[in-house]
């Protein structure tokens, strides 16, 4: 502004006052008008502002066109807004319905059936590859024992009925309703194996034992290891290998601890004497007398039959390691028993089948030593011959051949053995 002439500066000041709604004096206005007539630039500016301020309405045609366009435009805008509102309302309604259906569906989802725990088998048994908790277990005549993945085995008799109650990382539990169940539990798995009956349960970590239910009474026979047997409302007892415990159906309610102690004394491995001390009756009249209603008694009974039956069943199922194991248990626990001596021959045969000629020779020679003229002498001699041949002991084999041929010249093996002898003697 400083480069303008003084008159122009003054004109601009007055103009700005006017535009700022300040009221210039009449002299200032007159001065400005006069300057506008003299200065073309300032006059042009004043003219420009006047032109801008002069209303210049559109022509009539334009006016009408603008009016019609405005009314039409408003109608279109309102229609579109209404359509948008309807669309949003429909979308909201559909969304609400869909959401409601989804929520209702989830709220009414049928309960997913929880998968029952299962116990996997190492080999199929009676057409089953798994035992399901709650499913009754019945023998279908399968000769092979029921084998679990960890090596534990079970043998259920034809009349036996068992139900798997639990199968998890801590425990496997079976309930024996009737019949006989023989269990061989692999030690070191960390899981308890429990067989329960109506009145007791046998808990074991790793052993061979048998549970039997007869006329409501439960009988637990332990072949090897230790089994804890707990009758209802009685303290648990540990049964060692070679012992058997029978739990009879109880006739009275729970006994007191004092009565339990009396039972423990009565369960000592000595036969009960006739003049055994009569226990002092408890003050509670409901506590029964042990003699009249014995709760449990421990009977020393060999488990020979158990081992023998298992060995035979394993051998029949061609489970040679199982058969060998049970035969050896017989030898260990019932060495002097007559039947155990006869099983020496079978054991020798099993050892030969397991390619253990040295062990087979030991067993067959023991039989021949204990039973020189036994019923199984021929079989024992034959086993010895085969063991000597497998061991490569020619001189001993020659001697055994001669002995066999001398004792049994008309044996069906005679011709074969003679040929063998001739071969060895060359």
């Amino acid at each position: 502004m400083n480069d303008l002439p003084l008159g122009c500066q003054r004109f601009m000041e007055i103009l700005e006052q006017r535009l700022n709604e300040e009221t210039p004096s009449a002299e200032d206005l007159a001065e400005a008008r006069e300057h506008a007539t003299e200065c073309s630039e300032c006059g042009a500016l004043a003219g420009a502002l006047r032109v801008m301020a002069t209303p210049t309405p559109p022509s009539a045609a334009e006016h009408q066109a603008f009016k019609e366009a405005a009314l039409w435009g408003e109608k279109i805008v309102r229609q579109r807004r209404g359509q948008r509102r309807a669309m949003w309302a429909m979308a909201a309604a559909v969304s609400g319905v869909v959401l409601g259906i989804v929520i209702w569906r989830f709220a009414h989802l049928p309960a997913q059936p929880t998968a029952q725990p299962q116990l996997a088998l190492a080999q199929p048994w009676c057409g089953k590859t798994h035992l399901t908790v709650g499913e009754p277990l019945r023998s279908c005549g399968e000769a092979r024992p029921l084998k679990l993945r960890d090596g534990s085995q079970m043998q259920l008799t034809a009349e036996g009925v068992a139900t798997l109650l639990r199968a998890d990382g801590a425990e496997r539990r079976l309930r024996l309703e009737g019949g006989r169940l023989t269990v061989e539990v692999t030690p070191g798995t960390g899981r308890r194996f429990v067989v329960e009956t109506a009145y007791c349960e046998a808990k074991v970590l790793g052993t061979v034992f048998e549970v039997r239910v007869v006329d409501g009474d439960a009988e637990v026979a332990v072949v090897e290891g230790t089994v804890e047997v707990a009758a209802k409302d009685s303290p648990p007892e540990k049964i060692k290998g070679g012992w058997q415990l029978r739990v009879r159906k109880r006739r009275k309610s729970a006994l007191s601890a004092r009565r339990s102690a009396q039972i423990m004394r009565a369960l000592a491995p000595k036969p009960m004497a006739k003049d055994a001390e009569t226990p002092t009756p408890a003050k509670d009249a409901r506590v029964p007398d042990i003699k009249r209603t014995p709760l449990a008694q421990q009977v020393r009974a060999p488990a020979l039959k158990l081992l023998l039956s298992r060995a035979r069943s394993c051998r029949g199922a061609r489970d040679l390691p199982c058969a060998r194991k049970n035969y050896l248990l017989l030898q260990r626990h019932h060495r002097a028993a007559p039947v155990t001596i006869t099983t020496l021959v079978a054991l020798a045969e099993v050892e030969l089948a397991l390619r253990q000629p040295k062990a087979s020779l030991k067993h067959s020679r023991r039989y021949l030593r204990l039973r020189p003229k036994g019923t199984l002498e021929r079989e024992a001699l034959h086993a010895e011959l085969r063991a000597l041949r497998a061991l490569g002991r020619r001189a001993a084999e020659v001697r055994a051949l001669k002995r066999f041929l001398k004792r049994f010249p008309s044996s069906i093996h005679a011709s074969t053995l003679q040929a063998r002898l001739k071969t060895l003697q060359r």
Binding site: M1, E16, N20, E21, S40, V51, P57, P58, K67, A70
Partner: protein
């Protein structure tokens, strides 16, 4: 010039226009010249000026419910016109600074066509120089001179401080004077008008 006080008549007209087509047309008859002038001087000879005028009038009709009677309906309509024009100017990429612009407003029913043609030519040339100003200065001048808003109103509409609005008016005037000084023909035409 300046805003009018609360006018019950304007409020009544607007309320009737919301229900009656005849009242709506009456309202449009009042507003079209103002909107036309505002849009024309704000966006200049833009080819889209008629569309902007239509857009502005449509927005006015759609927003009638928002008028509360604070100030004249013309002032309210001019604010809407300003918003529409600003929206357009913000998105306009190029500005054609030529004399060959859309025909400026024509006087209705003039008895002197020659004079009208001269006036039209004058407005077009003036519009050309106004477009050479920055958008802020042009709009401030237009709102003050064309629409008749007070400086505080202009500051409020444009969203600037009062002193900023005053400064824009001052600077815009000086710059326009300079442009007009370099156009002898227009200067001569305007000198006749100022007299």
């Amino acid at each position: 010039m300046g805003t009018q006080p609360l006018d019950d008549a304007d409020l009544a007209l607007v309320r009737r226009a919301q229900r009656s087509a005849a009242a709506k047309e009456e309202l449009l008859d009042r507003l079209i010249p103002k909107v036309h002038q505002t849009i024309y001087w704000l966006v200049g000879g833009d080819a889209e000026a008629p569309d902007l005028i239509n857009t502005c009038l449509t927005e006015i009709l759609v927003a009638l419910r928002a008028y509360r009677g604070e100030g004249s309906v013309e002032a309210w309509a001019q604010r809407i016109s300003y918003r529409v024009a600003m929206r357009h100017l913000k998105h306009r990429r190029t500005r054609e600074r030529t004399f060959a612009l859309v025909d400026g407003p024509e006087a209705a029913g003039s008895s002197n066509p020659e004079r009208e043609a001269q006036q039209k030519h004058l407005r077009e040339r003036l519009q050309h120089h106004l477009q050479r100003l920055s958008a802020e200065r042009r709009i401030t001048l237009t709102l003050r001179v064309v629409n008749g808003h007070s400086v505080p109103e202009v500051a409020e509409i444009t969203g600037v401080a009062l002193n900023t609005a005053r400064d824009r008016i001052q600077t815009g005037l000086r710059q326009l004077r300079q442009f007009l000084g370099n156009d002898p023909q227009l200067r001569g035409m305007l000198s006749e008008v100022s007299v």
